[in-house]
């Protein structure tokens, strides 16, 4: 048995949450320091996992398996492949930056960090789980803290509504998928929830066609797929900054990832059958999301809808079922996670100081907040898929995949690039350049050092991947090979 890296990564936040709950509510500083050290530790571990992952050996690595309940074939089975390793790393990065940016939370920070870390444990758990039961277990753990985080620390105007909407949407999705998973379990007759075994179950094509849709869409709700995307912009906007980062940065990937792992990988025939439909839905996501984003006046809603659009690209990548598309989707999950985390961090910093997010009421922010401005500019370049940034590495292969399957889809989807470029640049110009409104003059305090570190970290990653795609693409490609084998072999 090797060193249990993945268990440690998964349970570090949970243990940290428990420790945090043991502090007295007044010990705010100790709570924050504990939170940050746990996050840094988890990030360090996930970095280690990422860089020691053997790209030549392919397949699942760092495997740990403990029998949890042999009677039903439930085991605590962890392992990462090329698809999930970047996502584990992403979660680590977002966790650290999220804690840094939430340093200023003063209302019950004990509960805030505890809930945030329970959420993080759930997210790590889903990315690392190779057991279907455990995947649901962690998936739900990731859902419910969301409700509390948004409704307690969120934006006062919409938090109650948005939190409840989000929770119900996600819960409905997950229970629908759960029924599908249980049906798979009993139909396979293998008496195991081990996904590596279930992959070999050879479900009949009819079965796969019937159950693919509920399972895939159930998870894809969390990935923000049209027409179930409605919860996501509301949720993003209502959530406090760190939670928006987590939410758009990591949680939506959770949905996409689970849809891939359970939907496409366990029911490949169904995926092939329904791919045109998924492609259609994703196309609506991409184009419609971009258009809606371009007419928003609230800075945060712009980012919220741009997430819908960008997650559409991930779904599109899946639906092409081509090596290019899947690779692009894998990279896009990582790239979008970092990008959107940065965007929401920046929005939060602006809002905390200007107390408004209405784009017409902002302006000239680059002067008092230079680093935030640069961050948003970098994010925008990533967002529109500019070469040299991570967005390009992600989107280009997805478009290649689309072109290979349906050229027309690629052409329509390409509209979104133009729209995206127009609205992100518009936001940058209106918020960061131009003349600062008089009401804000002199009220904009500089950002904290921790905020700066967080921004720089996120920017570095986006530019780093853009310049050195070899830092991520080979990983994703090994994961894609496995998926293609399942699709082809089925």
């Amino acid at each position: 048995m090797h060193f249990p890296f993945l268990s440690i990564i998964v349970f570090t936040p949970l243990v940290a949450a428990l420790i945090i709950l043991l502090y007295k509510p007044e010990q705010k500083k100790a709570i924050r320091i504990t939170a940050l050290s746990a996050a840094v530790f988890a990030l360090a571990m996930s970095l280690w996992v990422y860089f020691t992952y053997d790209k030549v050996a392919v397949g699942y690595q760092f495997i740990e398996k403990y029998n949890w309940m042999p009677a039903l074939g439930i085991s605590l089975h962890f392992g990462v492949d090329g698809m999930s390793a970047p996502l584990v790393l992403l979660t680590g990065v977002v966790m650290v930056t999220g804690v840094m940016i939430s340093w200023g939370i003063d209302d019950r920070p004990r509960e805030f960090f505890a809930f945030l870390f329970i959420l993080a444990s759930g997210v790590f758990g889903v990315f690392a789980s190779l057991d279907l039961f455990m995947l649901f277990f962690f998936y739900e753990i990731a859902v419910f803290p969301m409700y509390l985080l948004i409704s307690i620390w969120g934006w006062i105007k919409t938090r109650e509504y948005a939190a409840m909407k989000l929770t119900l949407y996600l819960f409905i999705g997950s229970v629908v998928s759960m029924i599908g998973a249980l049906v798979m379990y009993w139909t396979s007759g293998m008496h195991t929830f081990d996904m590596l075994v279930l992959e070999t179950a050879k479900f009949t094509p009819t079965f796969q066609k019937i159950w693919f849709l509920p399972v895939f869409l159930g998870f894809a709700i969390l990935g923000g797929i049209f027409p179930f995307h409605n919860w996501s912009p509301d949720g993003h906007v209502a959530a406090p900054t760190a939670v928006s980062m987590f939410h758009a940065g990591v949680l939506m990937k959770l949905g996409a990832f689970a849809a891939l792992r359970v939907g496409i990988m366990l029911l490949p025939q169904g995926a092939i059958f329904w791919a045109p439909l998924i492609m259609g839905l994703a196309l609506v996501n991409i184009v419609y999301g971009a258009f809606i984003a371009s007419v928003q006046t609230d800075f945060k809603y712009v980012i919220g809808f741009s997430s819908v659009s960008h997650m559409g690209l991930v779904m599109m990548g899946f639906a092409t079922l081509t090596p290019e598309g899947l690779t692009g989707a894998g990279v896009q999950m990582f790239s979008h996670g970092i990008m959107t985390a940065l965007f929401f961090a920046a929005v939060g910093m602006v809002y905390d100081r200007a107390h408004t997010r209405q784009i017409p009421e902002l302006g000239g922010m680059i002067k008092p907040l230079p680093l935030v401005g640069i961050g948003v500019i970098v994010g925008s370049l990533v967002s529109m898929g500019m070469p040299g940034f991570s967005g390009f590495i992600a989107e280009f292969p997805i478009f290649m995949g689309m072109w290979k399957t349906h050229a027309l889809v690629a052409i329509i989807a390409a509209i979104s690039i133009v729209v995206t470029a127009s609205y992100v640049l518009l936001v940058v110009r209106r918020v960061f350049f131009g003349k600062m409104p008089e009401a804000l003059e002199g009220h904009i305090a500089p950002i904290r050092n921790l905020d700066k570190i967080a921004l720089v970290l996120l920017m570095t990653l986006m530019i780093g991947i853009g310049l050195f795609p070899a830092l991520i693409v080979p990983w994703v490609q090994t994961g894609v090979q496995h998926i293609l084998a399942l699709l082809g072999g089925a």
Binding site: N67, M69, A71, F137, E140, F144, I152, L168, I179, V183
Partner: protein, 478 residues
């Protein structure tokens, strides 16, 4: 010695009850020594739990006392958690005015527990009926224990009227069984019910009516909200957990022992009942303003979820019901415990009373979080795995639609449970001055809350061994 092992818990309960009666006169009223009664009961129940677990474990199922009782894992398992629930309830009693200083309250609780233990292991119609009455009568009294409180009196009276009526119906069903077969032993009857004819239908309906009252299945659920609302809160907690589980124990034994041959016929009836119970319970719970009534309807809904496992009627199905009930007992005891504490400290059971709870007492807020999320079926609390197993059993047996109804219902449930948490965590007190209105919780209650929270987390994460027990109980039925 070996002969009394099967009823060791019952004997010890009786002894404990008598000891309480003896001690009572020696502790003068309104002195500082009265809490001793509560500690004595709780300690006694803990002792019974430990001794029974050590000495009185069953092996192979065996009929004892002339076929009156069956000594098996199902009965034993249920007994153990009745005693546990009674112990925890005792701790809550100690924190409740008008109950804590009265020896009768503890005595009645123990008597009811004794009846439940017998219910869980009865293998004969006569014994079963006696056990049900032994359970019910002390509970009627407990529900109406607060004599000065009209609502409590009403609750006691209503509970008794409904209870008496359904007991009569149940008895009528039993008499039909005896009339048609000439037998009273549950395990002799299965050969007499091999076809689903008019007699079987009639008997099943009559018996179901009686038991449906106990477990508050639709359409025999009407008493629950009124009784839970009026009864002292710890009593309501006990009613909604142990008493309901006892009903399920009987239900499981009756249907597996007497009607196994026609399971495909009655399971449809039960499936419909389960659907209606879940749906009605959840939908009406949505509209409640009082948290006790909300919990009453939620407990109706939970009876429906547990029923899904009975419908599945397989080893996994029965095991999942048992596991569900264990989890549900822990969770609902915690929920009612919190309601009791808040009710006592704020004098109200409305949702408003929970505003700012997490600021007034963060630990109590967290306990509420655990209780309500577990009820909603969220991991890592026991509610999630319990539901997962029940739905899994349904799908194994081919009841996919029932599982879908179940998950849809759990979404409705999630809504109103989160609503409570909204008050606890989000809303503020009117003057936003929670810091000067801290809620002080007594030590006894803290013990109970800690035990329950740990139990909920333990069963929710390390569920393997516990489900093993449940499976053992289920195996003894087939």
């Amino acid at each position: 010695m070996a002969a009394i092992l099967p009823i060791l818990p019952e004997i010890l309960l009786l002894v404990l009850g008598i000891l309480i009666l003896i001690i009572d006169p020696f502790l003068k009223r309104d002195t500082s020594r009265r809490p001793f009664l509560g500690w004595f009961s709780a300690g006694g129940l803990l002792f019974i739990l430990a001794v029974s677990l050590l000495l009185a474990r069953p092996t192979a199922p065996v009929l004892v006392f002339g076929g009156m009782l069956r000594f098996d894992w199902l009965g034993f398992g249920f007994k153990m958690f009745f005693v546990f629930a009674a112990g925890v309830t005792t701790l809550f009693f100690m924190d409740t005015d008008h109950l804590n200083r009265r020896a009768e309250a503890y005595l009645l609780l123990i008597a009811a527990t004794l009846g439940m233990c017998l219910m869980a292991s009865s293998a004969d119609l006569v014994m079963l009926y006696l056990a049900i009455e032994t359970t019910s009568i002390p509970l009627y009294l407990l529900a109406g224990f607060l004599k000065e409180d009209d609502k409590s009196t009403e609750a006691g009276f209503k509970y008794m009227l409904f209870g008496a009526l359904t007991s009569a119906v149940l008895l009528y069903g039993f008499s039909l069984i005896y009339g048609f077969t000439g037998k009273t032993g549950l395990y002799d009857l299965s050969t007499n019910f091999s076809t689903f004819n008019v007699v079987a239908v009639g008997i099943i309906f009559l018996v179901l009516a009686g038991l449906a009252f106990k477990v508050s299945l639709f359409p025999f659920h009407f008493w629950a909200p009124d009784v839970y609302e009026g009864a002292p809160t710890p009593v309501a907690g006990f009613l909604s957990t142990a008493s309901k589980a006892a009903g399920f124990a009987v239900l499981i034994r009756l249907f597996t022992a007497v009607f196994p041959a026609i399971s495909s016929d009655w399971s449809l009836i039960l499936a419909v009942l389960a659907t209606l119970t879940m749906t009605v319970g959840n939908l009406i719970a949505l509209a409640q303003k009082s948290i006790k009534r909300m919990l009453a309807y939620s407990s109706i809904a939970h009876a429906g979820y547990a029923m899904i496992g009975v419908v599945a009627f397989s080893k996994l199905g029965i095991a999942s019901v048992v596991f569900y009930l264990i989890g549900y007992v822990l969770t609902n005891l915690l929920a009612f415990g919190i309601v009791g504490i808040v009710g006592r400290l704020t004098g109200s059971d409305d949702f408003q009373a929970y505003s700012g709870l997490s600021r007034r007492n963060p630990t109590l807020g967290l306990a509420a979080l655990v209780a309500f999320l577990s009820l909603a079926g969220m991991p890592p609390f026991v509610g999630f795995v319990a539901k997962f197993f029940v739905f899994s059993a349904a799908i194994e047996a081919g009841w996919v639609w029932l599982a879908i109804v179940g998950v849809l219902n759990s979404i409705v449930g999630l809504y109103y449970y989160l609503n409570v948490l909204k008050y606890v965590y989000l809303y503020r007190m009117e003057d936003q001055d929670e810091e000067h209105h801290p809620l002080k919780v007594s030590g006894t209650v803290v013990i109970a809350l800690v035990i329950l929270v740990i139990g909920i987390l333990l069963l929710g994460s390390l569920f393997g061994p516990w489900f093993g027990f449940a499976t053992k109980a289920a195996m003894s039925m087939f």
